[in-house]
Symmetry: C2
Subunit: 360 residues, 2 copies
Amino acid sequence: MPEHYYALIMAGGGGTRLWPLSRASRPKQALKLLGDRSLFEQAVDRLKPLFPPERILVVCSASYARLLRAQRPELPEANFILEPEPRNTAPAIGLAAVTIHRRDPQATMACVTADHFIGNELRFCDLLTAAAEIAARNYLVTLGVRPTFSSTGYGYIQRGDPLGQAGEFSVFRAMRFKEKPNLPEAEAMVADGLHSWNSGMFVWRVERVMQEFARLMPDLHRVLTEIEATPPSLEKVWQQAPKISIDYGIMEGAAAAGAVAVIPADGLNWSDIGSWDTLLDVLAPDATGNVVVGAEHLAINSTRLLIHASRSQPRLVATIGLSDLLIVDTEDALLICPRDRAQDVRAVVEALKEGRTEYL
Amino acid sequence: MPEHYYALIMAGGGGTRLWPLSRASRPKQALKLLGDRSLFEQAVDRLKPLFPPERILVVCSASYARLLRAQRPELPEANFILEPEPRNTAPAIGLAAVTIHRRDPQATMACVTADHFIGNELRFCDLLTAAAEIAARNYLVTLGVRPTFSSTGYGYIQRGDPLGQAGEFSVFRAMRFKEKPNLPEAEAMVADGLHSWNSGMFVWRVERVMQEFARLMPDLHRVLTEIEATPPSLEKVWQQAPKISIDYGIMEGAAAAGAVAVIPADGLNWSDIGSWDTLLDVLAPDATGNVVVGAEHLAINSTRLLIHASRSQPRLVATIGLSDLLIVDTEDALLICPRDRAQDVRAVVEALKEGRTEYL
């Protein structure tokens, strides 16, 4: 890979929908949800074929930095870019962009997520390589994912004119971003074959995206310019950064100007592990038809359960006559709910804020 | 009370339907199911208004003796009658009868259970006093309970001619014992007002019940006679004792001969805590409509849950959109099943025998 190519892992999220495993002090990306490596560790490791540790950067809130650095100590301390407080993705990416720009004005950056599952890591590297080619043509590149079902939880990107080929991938102009749709909308977008899921991952030349910050988010650009000129001012000016996502702040406006390319990737085996039910999509059921992580399960007439245990002592979970339940067993808290109510775990977290903050 | 009145607590059972709380080494009667005292401790304590410790005896298997003695050390060690192995209630009661007979040939004995809930302890003492009066008339007295619903889990006793009054209680000849009926039978027996639940508790003169052992169970009577003559022979001859319940072995035949009286008691607030669902009958739901013991419960759209936790560390149980489930949380095992399948906990215990015996 070219020496001017940098990876930025966006590791700022918390992940309240994975309570009781995710906590204020244990964000989703630091959790060993799927095996012996955390999502963050997997995110770093799958970049290694393309990027040396010196060119892998992480943006996260200051409160998570110690935890994440301990998980991948081979990353230089200076590569952890700390937000004084989380202000959504546009300021975080802007802060990373100026940090990288100071090091290397010719840099291209790949903004990747810390908390997604990607089953096919080789293909992911191929995709990042292809995206860098398109970014060199001054597009803002967004990594799309071919939909496998009518998800109402993901955003969608509508493709326009073809922009050619990069590696094995066809590239298109991105016409329109559509946030989480309702079910009929989702079904229509999957059926028409013109839409990709928005993976939330982007590749662009740093100078190119700074132009778009200047054009579309002048307030944020002013903040970023001040930070780039005098980095110690970060703490002081960060509060002036608008709390806006990169999708709303940059991508929609840039797409309207024809400046965005989308690469609709298939075969990544990608999943946004946003909530407990989506974990099921990436884990294989056992012989009894249940997905079990970390527990010994005795199933009597039980199927389609998701059981996730994370405890220091082994533990038996016995179920009789149950189906489609989610059971999450941690040291100090047990969650049980129907799989189709996994989104409502947020409500538990909200309720805990009223007086049981020790479980947050 | 007369000095010849003795209480025998039958504490031989195991209670597999209360797994995972009840285990091979922790039988049901030794568990603090309902609060800060075990069922056995409650069974001893409610006898104390009538019986001094010297006249409270316990029959149990040798393997439980240490555990039970530690729970009520004020009972004399000699009052623990140890079965070399469990052989059902007829041999156990027979063994206790000869033990008491050696001490006091004029004894009357009240055979009471170690593992039932009795909410009204004062009325229970009144009932035992009344039963002793009827036993003095040479009846085998069985303590009935007025049915409050059409249980298919209890046995029933049909009453016949009135035998007069004892204290506040009317007494009847017992006509017929009916083991666990089907639902239409149970509904008919509750509707006709002629049936009581069989509490499994009995009062009789020791010499009188020995006559019935001689008449109805001559094989067992021979064993008991040998034990009474030379107590050290217990281990040797115990294996010859038939494994039969007192109901089948004695009460049915004695009732056929008109020798059994039943006292249909009401107001005892009695329950056989035989399985997890019956616990619900004696515990009051909280403000959210759930019965919770030992856990902190966060209920979101959840009702009619039975949550029983017994852990050294406090623990939060959060439920979303669930009803009519049983959740039992112990240190090393978690059980979840619908309330109406609480009887199937036996199936879990059976399955554990196939290779996961550490959880038995």
